[in-house]
Amino acid sequence: MIKLEHLTKYYKKHARGIIDVSLEIKKGEIFGFIGPNGAGKSTTVRTLLNLIFPSSGTATIEKLDCVHDTIAIRKIVGYIPSEVSFYGDMYVHDFIRYACRFHGNVNQRYLDSLVGKLELDTSRKIEDLSFGNKKKVAIVAALATHPKILILDEPTSGLDPLMQTVFFQLLEFEKKKGTTIFFSSHNLSEVQRICDRVGIIKEGKLIKVETIDDIMKTRAKTVRIKTQDVIEPTAEMINFERINGYVSFVYTGEMTPLVHLISTLHLDDVTITEPSLEEIFMHYYEREEVK
């Protein structure tokens, strides 16, 4: 279980880090933590790993304090960073062995199966690897130690779609084992694909925590209309765009006025669909701005 209570981090040089972030991630849950670059995702991850110290508030993992019980936490945590930086002059197999040695005995068969599934060439030097292959090294090194908690910061960046699928299968396997997963990402479709719940962070503040199902059940609808008539955007119309004779927007208001509006138009075409997570995300983001 991961618990953040009023977690706040101010940087000396940069004004904003995270402000009053509180959330609770249950055991065995995959929690998506989404927001654009600079929103505070990495600050949260770094605080959990005690790379940085919180200005106020607390963060606990399995009831262990992130500041005072760092070694106990690191024993049970597997971490995949967004930018993989390992010792370039080491061979992959030496590096993985080194990383695992910190955790004591590692099941060699499981380690080999991870290497096989990710098609990782362990005989090469780390400095000779592409970004994607470095990411695979990070995945193997993190999963091979059988962590109770996985902290993932943009884990799929650099992986090709095939490897992303393999990676998600590995995460599903971890979830079945009861591993709690903190999945920080700005890629909404992958969060939608794998996560149980999602937290949206904006400018350092957690603005929404919902299950993926609930967040997708939002009343907002994506509307796409082809018409020669002029439609004036209202406050309920988010992401309002006119392209090639089509008007599209995410509608967040009551249905009756929308239906009434459509009925007054000379329509060539109209579609009303469930919005994608991206559109919902923008909806939350823009709504916060209006506030």
Binding site: Y11, R74, P81, S85
Partner: protein, 267 residues
Amino acid sequence: MKIMMISEWKRSLKSLILWTAIVSGLVALMLMLYPTFKDAFSEMENFLAIYPEAFLEAFGLGEGGLDMSDFYGWFGVEGYLFVNLIGGSYAAILGGSILSKEEDDKTIEFLLSKPISRDAILFGKAIVVAINLLLLNTVVAIVLLIAFTIYGDLNVPVWLLFSYAPFLLQMIFASLSFLISVFITKSRKVISTGLGIVIGLYVVDLISKLTDEFEYLKYFTPYEYINAVTIVNDEMIKPLYLLISLALIAISFITAWFFYRKKDITA
């Protein structure tokens, strides 16, 4: 800590071998030149007489200083400086980069995600620095032992002091660079600052010996603490200097530890 230390030491091995080869090679070269110069010493004394006393003092050749016709005196003037300057440079580079390189290369993020405390990282790395410097000086000690046995009567205290007094100086440079690296994370900047200290304090040492006016500066330069003249003539390092050296090393490492354990790693 042991796992990290072994890995760290393995990574530093190449540069240790290189620097040890340079320092011990130069020492061996200087020692091999001794027989050639020995015969020319009477002429050299006349040659040196034209230099002002202060100048000779700066190189340990003044009144009550070293006798270059003596083998220990020769090494004290010609070889010892190389050990101190080049060995000191290696110490500054090693001490300055061992911690900052992790942040500069962002590998610290990996290391701090493993079950190892910041204290263990800091002390483990400090121990690797000390071991490497000790190994470098031990190789130099072996070269000196061979040379001293061949060319003169082996004076064990002087041999040991010539071999391991530079370790004290190197540890001072290493610990100062180590401390700087807690605050400046760019390896290059730390190394150039560390090397600046090595050269700068040597200049301070020279100035302190040139005129009586600046003699007080000798307390601020570690080259004076392990002066070859004291080693050859008194067979010792002055207790006050030993104390200052140990205090400097301890204070640098403790200060580094104090700040590092609370430092935000933002690399």
